[in-house]
Amino acid sequence: MTTSNTNLRRHPGLNLGPSHGKAHEEAESVVFGFWVFLMSDLVTFAMFFAIYATSIQATAGGPGNADIVDVTSIALQTGSLLISSLLFGVATVAMKYHSSKRVVILWLLASLAFGLCFLGLEIRDFIDAAEKGAVPMRSSYLSSYWALVGLHGLHVSVGSLMILVVCVQIAFFGFASDVKTRVLRLGLYWHFLDIIWIGIFSVVFLPGLLS
């Protein structure tokens, strides 16, 4: 019992049980490898943040930070992401405690729905900005703004696609151990994107409100 207990702590959302010795070892490697990937990705994001920071003043007379922020929309986007993350968490807990496939898939789809809300709002903001002339071709500042925020959006899109894929896999294979680790990794990815988003609203959007 003690061993299985620590295993449970180790990967909430993953319950391969003591009988899955080899599967568990593999899951360890896979999850650790995924962490490595996430951290490498984090450095990529950091570079986009750094370039953003160095080009805040490079607006070339075009629209700047203050001209593109729509606080309400950003707040809603943040909310969508947080709710989506919470729902994903609930889905993993459901998976861990042997809920039926249907239940888990439903939670995942709910999580996806909020992810899509986020994307919808973000795209609307991008369109608005473009209508105001704040296109990336306008200045170095806008280039870095679009690239940074867009990169996060791209990640969310990929994540959304993967949620769908994982749902199909659950439907196909049930909760085989590799499907479970995949859900777990996708969860890490999904929560990780929130951390990037904290950076984005703290560095990009909120400072835009300061007069």
């Binding site: 650790f32 490595v36 490498s40 200045s139 280039s143 690239a147």
Partner: protein, 692 residues
């Protein structure tokens, strides 16, 4: 419509026809290179078809996920690209011989040459070589059956090949970049180079970069999670330590490159303004980002080479490595410090002296752990029973040259000196001085050392040693004079010069370059000669040099399952200890078990084909093709999650037979004395020496 189908690809882009359109010297050289690539490809294709080799190529090589085969493929890619890189080096030297008041190549062609040469040598020669050795050695040295993610490993190889293919295609269709391997904008921006060149650079680096990060990830996890019982961190062979540090560097240093490549692509394709001259773009951001990758990159290239040197220095001096702990600490110190020095590549960009001094000091600090390493190798040799085989010849060259390269590095790290020699031939001399003896010699020596392990026969000693001497002599003449030329004031990347006093130096370097070319031919000759004599050179026992670490504890070629049992170790140099104790060839377990190999996969081939098509389509703006290839890649990757292949099962009986044959071989005789190791009596079993 034509635009839709072919993008911006037109007849004029077919570079191999340039020579017919306008037969200048430059075009003759350029087109011949292209024709050589085409003819080479045709010959290879013909051989594959006629001899029926396509079958093993597809079904034992391209679909394999075995780390040993993948490692060999990396090294083959490296060798092919190395041949091209050396040829370009020689052509460039011949340009320098004639370039007093203008050489026989056009400036543009010369620029293309140094750009492809640099890009190839760094990304498609040295990187594949080292990653190849990581593949070959790491799982064996830590007592594992494969890397942590075998299929991912194949994916990495696929991406590396895509990059190399794009470079080869650029010989035939279109033109490669002329902005050097660093590709600095704004010169590489659309305003100055609207053509295909920088786009080739973007996609070959961008796509192969994906593969490289994944390799780093794979090996970090392998080394963290797959060590055999008893293999604590401090019992790992030095090469594994350096592979670990390199993997960490790959994981964290490639992202700045990815970022800079993405931004440059956005600038060129979508008219963004990261690095342009107008609308607030700032090319200094490029230099800064690029070197945040670029400096750790040079340590990515040198650390595994240090590891290789450490391994075979110990083997060929017949004693354990001196100062294991100090090597480990030095390796880790170098890995971390290498993230703090990138600015020394652009001391002259205009930042304040305070910043320059800070980075100059950080750079000089790296010399300390590096110096420690050189002393460690010397101390390992000291008092050892050194056998002057090919690897030790390379090692001797390395220690001398690397000291010189290191000193000039310290000179360059001093901002005031740097202002005088920045961007001069002095720098060319310096980096060839560290890269060739440092990394290239290590790899060539290691090919000699570990070739028998994976092919079952040794390389001919006379040919290999000749190649080593030719490399050393050629290197000396080809690059040492450039220090002088640099101090005399010739900038690097000069298509022409006006000072006749450079000419004698240029002739000497030309001779050196030809000598390197001869060395390369000798190296290839050594492979051919040895393959012909493979029966006399055979070492089925798998331990031709009296090796010390686990990779020698198996027959040669290494069986697909690596080890009959996952070994358990309780010291460093476990195999040497066991040999000294006389227990190396004993069966310590009597029930053999079936082994499941990692399943084969076609994702690698898919990446090679569609990745290359994607890159090509992006370079030539053939959007439909780009979308289709991207979709092909995407669907296959998603499909992977639905495939649940089992690997081939090797039955216990086969494993038992192989193991027992091997042990019987060891029991046959007393083994080979070290002084006879290059004689035909060496069958891969070492005579027992009591010292360990």
């Amino acid at each position: 419509m034509e635009h839709f189908i072919f993008g911006r690809l037109g007849w004029d882009d077919i570079a191999i026809f340039d020579v017919f359109r306008d037969p200048t010297a430059s075009n003759i050289v350029g087109s011949s290179a292209g024709w050589l690539a085409v003819i080479g490809a045709v010959i290879v294709a013909a051989l594959l078809l006629i001899k029926g080799w396509w079958k093993p190529l597809l079904f034992t090589w391209l679909n394999t996920t075995d780390h040993k085969k993948i490692g060999i493929m990396y090294i083959v890619v490296g060798l092919v690209m190395f041949a091209r890189g050396v040829a370009e080096g020689v052509v460039m030297r011949s340009q320098y011989v004639t370039s007093y008041q203008g050489g026989y190549l056009t400036p543009d062609h010369f620029s293309e040459l140094f750009s492809t040469h640099g890009t190839i040598m760094i990304f498609f020669v040295l990187m594949p070589f080292l990653i190849g050795f990581m593949n070959l050695l790491v799982p064996l040295q830590i007592g594992a059956r494969d890397v942590a993610f075998p299929r991912l490993n194949q994916i990495s190889l696929g991406f590396t090949i895509v990059g190399a293919m794009l470079l080869m295609i650029s010989l035939v269709v279109g033109q490669f970049a002329t902005g050097g391997w660093t590709g600095y904008p704004p010169y590489t921006g659309v305003a100055f180079q609207p053509g295909t060149g920088p786009d080739y650079w973007i996609w070959s680096l961008g796509l192969s970069g994906i593969g490289t990060v994944l390799t780093g990830l794979n090996f970090a996890v392998t080394i963290y999670k797959m060590r055999c019982p008893g293999m604590t961190f401090l019992r790992m062979p030095i090469f594994v330590w350096t592979a670990l540090c390199t993997s960490i560097l790959l994981i964290f240093a490639l992202p700045p490159l990815t970022a800079v490549v993405i931004m440059q692509a956005l600038d060129r394709y979508l008219d963004f303004h990261f690095f342009t001259n107008d609308l607030g773009g700032n090319m200094m951001n490029f230099a800064n980002l690029f070197w945040m990758f670029g400096h750790p990159e040079v340590y990515i290239l040198i650390l595994p080479a240090f590891g290789l040197y450490s391994e075979f220095t110990a083997i060929f001096s017949g004693k354990r490595i001196y100062g294991y702990m100090s090597l480990v600490i030095a390796t880790m110190a170098i890995a971390v410090l290498s993230f703090t020095v990138w600015l020394h590549h652009f001391f002259t960009m205009g930042q304040s002296p305070t910043i320059n001094v800070a980075f100059g000091i950080a750079t000089m600090l790296i010399a300390i752990p590096t110096g420690v390493k050189v002393y460690v190798w010397i101390a390992t040799l000291w008092g050892g029973r050194i056998r002057m085989r090919t690897p030790i010849i390379y090692l001797a060259g390395f220690i001398v040259f690397f000291a010189v390269g290191g000193y000039t590095g310290i000179l360059l790290a001093n901002p005031t000196v740097n202002f005088a020699v920045h961007n001069s031939q002095f720098v060319v001399a310096h980096f060839h001085n560290v890269l060739l003896p440092g990394t290239l010699f290590a790899v060539l020596a290691s090919i000699y050392v570990w070739f028998p392990k994976f092919f079952g026969f040794r390389l001919d000693e006379r040919w290999s040693a000749t190649a080593a001497w030719l490399f050393i002599i050629g290197f000396t003449f080809a690059f040492m004079p450039l220090y002088m030329v640099g101090l005399m004031g010739l900038p690097r990347r000069s298509p022409a010069f006006d000072d006749p006093s450079y000419i004698p130096y240029m002739i000497v370097t030309m001779v050196g370059a030809l000598c390197v070319l001869a060395a390369l031919c000798t190296l290839i000759g050594s492979f051919v000669v040895s393959a012909l004599r493979r029966d006399t050179l055979a070492v089925p026992g798998g331990d031709p040099w009296d090796g010390r670490t686990l990779e020698w504890a198996s027959p040669a070629p290494v069986p697909e399952w690596n080890f009959a049992f996952i070994p358990t170790v309780n010291s460093q140099d476990a195999f040497a200890k066991e040999k000294a104790a006389g227990t190396a060839y004993e069966i310590d377990c009597d029930t053999y078990e079936d082994v499941e190999l990692s399943p084969t996969s076609w994702i690698g081939l898919n990446i090679i084909v569609f990745g290359t098509l994607f890159g090509f389509a992006m370079v030539f703006w053939i959007w439909w093709l780009a979308v289709l290839s991207a979709l092909a890649l995407l669907t296959h990757s998603i499909g992977l999650g639905f495939v649940r292949d089992k690997g081939e099962i090797i039955p216990a009986s086969v494993i038992e037979r192989t193991e027992k044959d091997w042990i019987a071989l060891a029991a046959e005789g007393p083994g080979t004395e070290r002084r006879d190791e290059v004689s035909p009596s060496n069958r891969g079993i070492a005579a027992r020496i009591s010292e360990a």
